[in-house]
């Protein structure tokens, strides 16, 4: 009844081409930047973090709907599910960061630390940092794989206990992710500006990647629909995804303002340094970030109609996706390389990692039916509507 996805040669070769181009550009970029390796490593971290966080957020998207006993999402559930399978692959990329640690993290130079960093050393030291990085990747991978496996089992087995098991996994997932989403953001991103701290930072980064994940779900849905799949996905589903994109873009803006306003207001140097750096050297990006990630989706998706029309939705999703890449760029680069740099290294690295991400996605998406037909609430997904 629902057309299974076939990972055709055409798509495969397109993605391979994408990866190759990305790889070539990236290698060229690396070659050009051998004299300042911190830019190379910062790019590895940027894309490594961005995509693994997106994959994890996609997993979060699924489990939160499982916990919320939602029905509508089952129509699109397999997309984020497949996205989440990137976690173990992306984890390898993140392990690379451990190699380049010294080029990114000031605190990893344990031999000359100032007083404050000495104070942080029990937490921020290369060994413990590596342990945590590995732990995040392993635990996250286990979680997404476990969930995915259970979910796929339902395709051949309509035992309600499998659904209950999904809920159990989701519960474990959310507890672990609630803690690790923050701590991983502190470890990987916040500690780049090694003196700076913000309690909100973890949640802020999480929402940023979560919105990106929603955007990618929409983008992938668009692509799949273009290829003739996922025809069961109707306007109501788009509307709901649109609402997510709209709502969480606003929520992201809310967190952005919360963090900025509080730091702006108190104006304490140990905190303002973060923004001062970004405003001084990345002014256009800094303000552009807010426009792209808040104003654009806000204005585009405010009307009911735009949320229900794929063309508008995909436009908003694409903008938001790029916007949040910039957001992560802004979080990493000022601390890691100190000034704005954008060139073939950035493009190549992003294209390469995006290619891998997509390849992993399509591979996994092809492995299973496009919908979980035995999901107990599956039918609900096709009999509801949004109030006008």
């Amino acid at each position: 009844m629902y057309k299974s996805f076939e990972f055709s040669k055409k798509i495969k070769s397109f993605l391979i081409a994408m990866m190759v181009i990305g790889a070539v550009l990236a290698v060229a970029g690396v070659a050009m930047n051998l004299d300042h390796t911190h830019r190379i490593w910062a790019n590895v971290l940027l894309n490594g973090f961005f995509f693994i966080a997106i994959a994890m957020s996609a997993g979060f998207f699924v489990i939160v709907h499982v916990l919320g006993e939602s029905g509508w999402h089952t129509a699109v559930q397999r997309i984020p599910e497949a996205m989440s399978m990137y976690v173990p692959v992306g984890g390898v990329l993140m392990l690379l960061v451990l190699v380049g640690m010294h080029d990114i993290y000031h605190w990893s130079h344990t031999e000359h630390l100032d007083e404050i960093l000495q104070g942080k050393a029990p937490y921020l030291n290369p060994i413990f940092f590596s342990i945590r990085t590995v732990a995040y990747i392993v635990i996250w991978s286990l979680l997404v794989i476990w969930f995915r496996k259970t979910s796929l089992k339902t395709d051949s087995n309509d035992d309600i206990r499998l659904f209950n098991k999904q809920r159990t996994i989701a519960g474990i997932f959310i507890v672990i992710f609630a803690v690790t989403s923050s701590t991983s953001a502190w470890d990987w991103i916040m500690s780049i500006d090694s003196h700076w701290f913000s309690t909100l930072f973890g949640w802020y980064m999480f929402i940023s990647t979560f919105v990106s994940a929603v955007a990618i779900i929409i983008v992938l849905l668009f692509v799949l629909k273009r290829m003739g799949y996922m025809e069961h996905v109707n306007d109501e589903h788009l509307h709901d995804l649109g609402k997510y994109l709209f709502g969480f873009s606003i929520f992201w803006a809310y967190l952005w303002v919360s963090q900025y306003l509080l730091i702006w207001y108190s104006n304490i140097p140990e905190e303002t340094i973060y923004y001062v750096k970004r405003i001084q050297d990345f002014e256009a990006l800094f303000y552009g970030n807010v426009i792209i990630n808040f104003l654009a989706p806000f204005l585009i998706l405010m009307a009911r109609g735009t949320k229900r029309r794929l063309n508008w939705l995909i436009a908003a999703a694409a903008i938001v996706f790029i916007g949040h890449w910039i957001d992560v760029y802004l979080a990493i680069m000022p601390g890691a390389i100190g000034h704005a740099e954008f060139g073939i290294l950035e493009i190549g690295m992003t294209v390469l990692v995006a290619g891998i991400f997509l390849y992993v996605f399509f591979t996994n998406f092809a492995k299973a039916p496009v919908v979980p037909e035995n999901h107990p609430f599956f039918k609900e997904s096709f009999d509801y509507d949004n109030i006008r």
Binding site: I268, P269, T272, I273
Partner: protein, 987 residues
């Protein structure tokens, strides 16, 4: 230099009259023609000329009586300053009295006085409030019944005329430093030869004078010059707080220790003491010493020093610290000073001899410039008692003295007085002694009368009335003149005395006496260099016997009790004073009570904590655990427990003067053995600070002299780090005109609290009372934070005056919802009291916690009736006369805080504008700065590169309190430097 004038002619020479026209355009003449309401705040400071009324602006003015004929010198809205002199029987300070609309509203030091430099101690300034004390005797009485002055004169003249010459008529005065009064007394005695003049000091230093008598043949009190010393060793002498001339000594002390203006040498101060005094807390090194061992320590020191110069004296085994100090002293011969505050003849003899050995006489101890303070002789007093007991005295007149309270001597004083048939008290305040007197004759407050002083030979000051007497009072001098039948007033007598005895053409620079008199009156002080010195020579005392008696340590397991004067209340004479009672004791930071302080170790041993009530030889007192106190030493401040002092002081704390005994004829303030037992009750002390550690925070930054000389920024390294991180998300506002700033030199500040009283008087800061202070509701705009560090048995002490820091990025201003507090264009954090609705949000957000909230109606400015909280009677009409009309009296529910004396700034700005000139640096002085004996506070324009503030800001010791918060305070501190070796200590 200020011009002090007495009459209008002095002030306004005829040719200056046209100036008036200029001034009249000032109010409308601002740089912008768009002179809108936004200038409201700018004018706020001075446009509230009727502020005292404004405070109650919602209520009708109850009493407003216009002048029928306006006195020529009274100009509404303009203050007159009168030069005068403060003398309360203990301390003498030349002062200026600020008078507004006929009311003295503030006392400041007279800056023509070289010894005080215009500074004044807390007590000197607070004495103003005693003028408006509603408990003052207002009417002469005889055996409790009112009597007219004429009848007093008639009765006493008759008594004196018909005197039985076998009996004495004794006049007991405190130390008389007035040459004219002395002469008057002499004249009186000449008329009535049976009259005997005795001197009685409230707190006795008679052993000191006797020691000089033994050493130099004259019972003198020399001038001490702490500023000439490179090494000061104090033994139980609180010379910065209470001993002899604290204002003068504080000034000398700071001068010798300042490191500003290129000075690279710093006096070193070592203090041996049983209790933690203000002085000891300032010492570079402080050694706790049992009080009973002071003589032994000094004997040991003498012995060590004597051996060094090859004298053969009995050997005394010295404690380790003494041996080290002896070495240091020996190295600073002629540039050192050893002092002791103990009224013990052995001790004082040793001190005199030590200073002699060290060749300090003539250098830091000026025996040729004796000071006339503390002339009392306890032996003479005891002799008087004996004469009274044996019915040899027919009458006694207590002239502003209160021996029943100050020297009860186990009831002897009281009984002796009762034996005298005729007892007269002449007093400006209620006293316990007066209760035993037949005649109680009210005397005017010193701001209501004429007098003069001669503190040191050849240095004269005048005391002149700044207000007409408020009550039916008459000075003691006028009493004597009336009873002796002398003609004229005491003013005439005084003037004549000056003409005959003081005036010389040379001194008057060739002017006639009248001119000399006027100039003297204007200046308040006249120094005749020609009379400056007397000569005495060393004859030497019998040291050997003293050494013998004191060659061993006396300390054992017995508890000793030290009775001391504390900084606010002193000997208790001025106790009935709300400002002084609310002034926190600088070491304990407790006010409104005395208490028994015990060492932490002893408290732990007995299981006592602060507030436990214990019984010390029958007197119940709350415990205060005092770090740095001797292990077996208990200490209680005298001056409390007044039974007849008036509304405020009566029954505050406990009177411990009854513990005073005579030792070798001198009043001893040490009880070598006491019993202390716990009781079951507790008593909450009114403490303004409850936490005593800096918690490792860089609040007060300090270094040692050696490190400082190597790197002036040592101890202040954090400042540079903070400056490097000086980021901000918004541009700093530009201050185009003035940008006021203040620099506080922590190395100069000795913590005397004079600034607190100055601020309270200047800014109408309410007095809230003991219970409110217990609830941390105290209102002082400036406070002296005190922190201990190190060993609790002998901690180091640091102090920090904290007032509103006038941050340019003020966290308080941001959050006021109604814009009641904001930043002026001159960088001042200003408060519009009328706009404040009292959310206290600003106070929460102030990192310095300097904002004060009017929790209750303390001032009577509230519109709701019957809700006043005023234990000290500060809202009585009489006491409200002390209010400064330039400063709004704040209503209930309003936040207030330091304004950097905005009224003074505006006043001087206007003066400069009227004169058509630039405001000069140093012209504006905030109240705290003006009175500071140590010149620790400097105020000025940070935009003026030549101002003193700007110069000090270049000092490497400068830092902002909590500067890491980027509040950009306009108050800047200079770090403290200790003259000690970091690695070596005495003890």
């Amino acid at each position: 230099m200020k011009e002090y004038w007495r009459s209008l002619e002095d002030l306004l020479p005829a040719e200056e009259a046209p100036q008036e026209k200029k001034s009249s355009v000032v109010l409308s003449d601002t740089d912008s023609s768009k002179n809108t309401r936004r200038d409201f705040l700018k004018y706020f400071g001075f446009s509230i000329a009727s502020a005292a009324v404004l405070a109650g602006c919602e209520r009708p003015v109850k009493k407003a009586i216009p002048y029928l004929i306006q006195p020529e010198e009274v100009k509404p809205g303009t203050a007159n300053y009168y030069a005068s002199t403060f003398y309360d029987g203990a301390e003498m300070v030349p002062i200026l009295v600020k008078v507004r609309d006929g009311r003295p509203i503030k006392i400041e030091g007279n800056d023509l006085c070289q010894m005080t430099g215009g500074s004044a101690s807390a007590r000197v300034q607070a004495s103003l409030l005693n003028l408006y004390d509603e408990s003052r005797p207002a009417q002469p009485t005889l055996d409790g019944n009112p009597i007219r002055w004429e009848d007093v004169d008639a009765q006493l003249t008759e008594t004196l005329t018909n005197w039985d010459a076998s009996k004495e008529f004794v006049i007991v005065t405190s130390s008389v430093i007035s040459p004219s009064t002395k002469k008057l007394i002499a004249d009186f005695i000449a008329k009535y030869p049976f009259v005997v003049h005795e001197t009685f000091d409230a707190y006795s230093y008679s052993a000191l004078r006797e020691a000089y008598k033994q050493g130099f043949g004259e019972a003198i009190l020399p001038s001490f010059r702490f500023d000439k010393a490179k090494l000061v060793v104090g033994f139980n002498a609180d010379f910065l707080g209470t001993w002899l001339q604290p204002t003068v000594f504080g000034r000398q002390y700071a001068a010798a220790r300042k490191l500003t203006g290129g000075q690279r040498e710093m006096m070193r101060h070592i203090q041996f003491e049983p209790i933690m005094t203000l002085t000891g807390s300032n010492a570079d090194e402080r050694v706790p010493m049992p009080a009973v061992d002071e003589a032994y320590y000094l004997a040991a020191l003498y012995s060590e020093l004597a051996q060094k110069v090859g004298l053969s004296v009995p050997a005394v085994k010295a404690p380790e610290a003494i041996a080290k100090v002896a070495d240091e002293l020996a190295a600073a011969k002629g540039q050192s000073l050893v002092v002791s505050g103990t009224n013990n003849i052995d001790i004082q003899t040793l001190v005199v001899e030590i200073n002699h050995l060290l060749q300090n006489i003539g250098q830091t101890v000026l025996v040729d410039q004796p000071v006339n303070l503390y002339q009392g002789n306890d032996k003479a007093y005891e002799a008087l008692l004996t004469r009274m007991e044996s019915d040899k005295v027919g009458a006694v007149l207590f002239w502003e003295t209160n021996p029943v309270y100050h020297a009860p001597l186990q009831g002897r004083t009281e009984e002796a007085i009762k034996k005298v048939p005729l007892r007269i008290a002449v007093q400006s305040q209620q006293t316990e002694t007066a209760l035993f007197c037949n005649y109680q004759l009210p005397a005017p407050h010193f701001l209501e009368r004429w007098d003069d002083t001669e503190l040191v030979k050849g240095v004269y000051t005048l005391m002149q009335p700044a207000i007409r007497p408020l009550f039916k009072t008459r000075t003691a001098q006028e009493n004597l003149m009336a009873w002796a039948g002398f003609d004229g007033t005491y003013y005439d007598y005084l003037k004549l005395f000056w003409k005959e005895n003081i005036y010389t053409a040379e001194l008057a620079k060739g002017k006639q006496f009248e001119t000399f008199w006027k100039v003297s009156l204007r200046d308040g002080i006249v120094a005749d260099a020609g009379k400056a010195s007397e000569s005495v020579s060393y004859i030497g005392a019998d040291v050997a016997s003293v050494l013998k008696v004191n060659s061993t340590s006396q300390s054992g397991n017995d508890l000793e009790l030290v009775l001391y004067q504390n900084v606010p209340v002193g000997d208790g004479t001025l106790a009935n004073n709300p400002w002084l009672q609310e002034l926190p004791e600088p070491v304990s930071r407790v006010c409104w009570d005395n208490y028994v302080s015990v060492s932490p170790a002893f408290a732990a041993l007995r299981g006592w904590t602060q507030g436990d009530v214990v019984e010390v030889n029958g007197v119940e007192l709350p415990v205060l655990v005092q770090p740095g106190q001797g292990r077996n030493t208990l200490a209680v401040a005298v001056g409390y427990g007044r039974s007849n002092a008036g509304r405020v002081a009566s029954d505050l704390g406990q009177n411990v003067y009854p513990f005073v005994t005579l030792n070798n004829g001198h009043r001893s303030y040490l009880v070598p053995k006491v019993e202390a037992t716990a009781t079951s009750s507790t008593y909450e002390l009114a403490a303004t600070q409850s936490h005593h550690s800096m918690e490792g925070r860089a609040l007060v930054r300090e270094t040692t002299i050696a490190e400082y000389l190597e790197n002036p920024a040592s101890g202040n390294e954090m400042h540079e780090k903070v400056e490097k991180l000086h980021t901000s998300l918004y541009h700093e506002h530009e201050y185009k005109g003035h940008h006021w700033g203040m620099v506080i030199d922590l190395n100069s500040c000795i913590g005397c609290n004079a600034c607190v009283v100055a601020c309270s008087a200047e800014n109408n800061v309410p007095v809230v009372g003991r219970n409110e202070v217990r609830r941390s509701h105290e209102m002082h705009w400036i406070r002296l934070d005190r922190y201990y560090s190190g060993d609790t048995d002998n901690p180091e002490v640091v102090r920090q005056p904290v007032m509103c820091q006038h941050c340019d990025n003020a966290p308080c201003e941001n959050v006021c919802p109604v814009a009641a507090t904001n930043h002026s264009s001159e960088g001042i954090n200003q408060m519009a009291y009328n706009r404040c609705i009292g959310t206290r949000y600003c106070n929460n957000n102030c990192p310095y916690k300097v904002r004060r909230f009017n929790w209750y109606d303390y001032t009577g400015a509230d519109t709701i009736p019957n809700n006043r909280v005023d234990v000290a009677g500060m809202t009585l009409d009489l006491k409200r006369m002390v209010l400064n009309p330039d400063v709004t009296v704040r209503a209930k529910g309003v936040i207030e805080k330091c304004s950097m004396c905005i009224q003074r700034i505006q006043d001087k700005k206007l003066t400069a504008k009227k004169d058509g000139r630039q405001l000069a640096d140093g012209e504006i002085k905030t109240a705290c700065q003006q009175t500071c004996p140590t010149d620790a506070i400097t105020f000025g324009d940070m935009n003026d590169p030549n101002s003193k503030v700007s110069q000090l800001l270049k000092d490497a010791r400068q830092y902002g309190l909590l500067e890491e918060l980027h509040t950009l305070p306009s108050v800047v501190y200079l770090s403290k430097v200790r003259n000690k070796d970091k690695n070596k200590t005495l003890s």
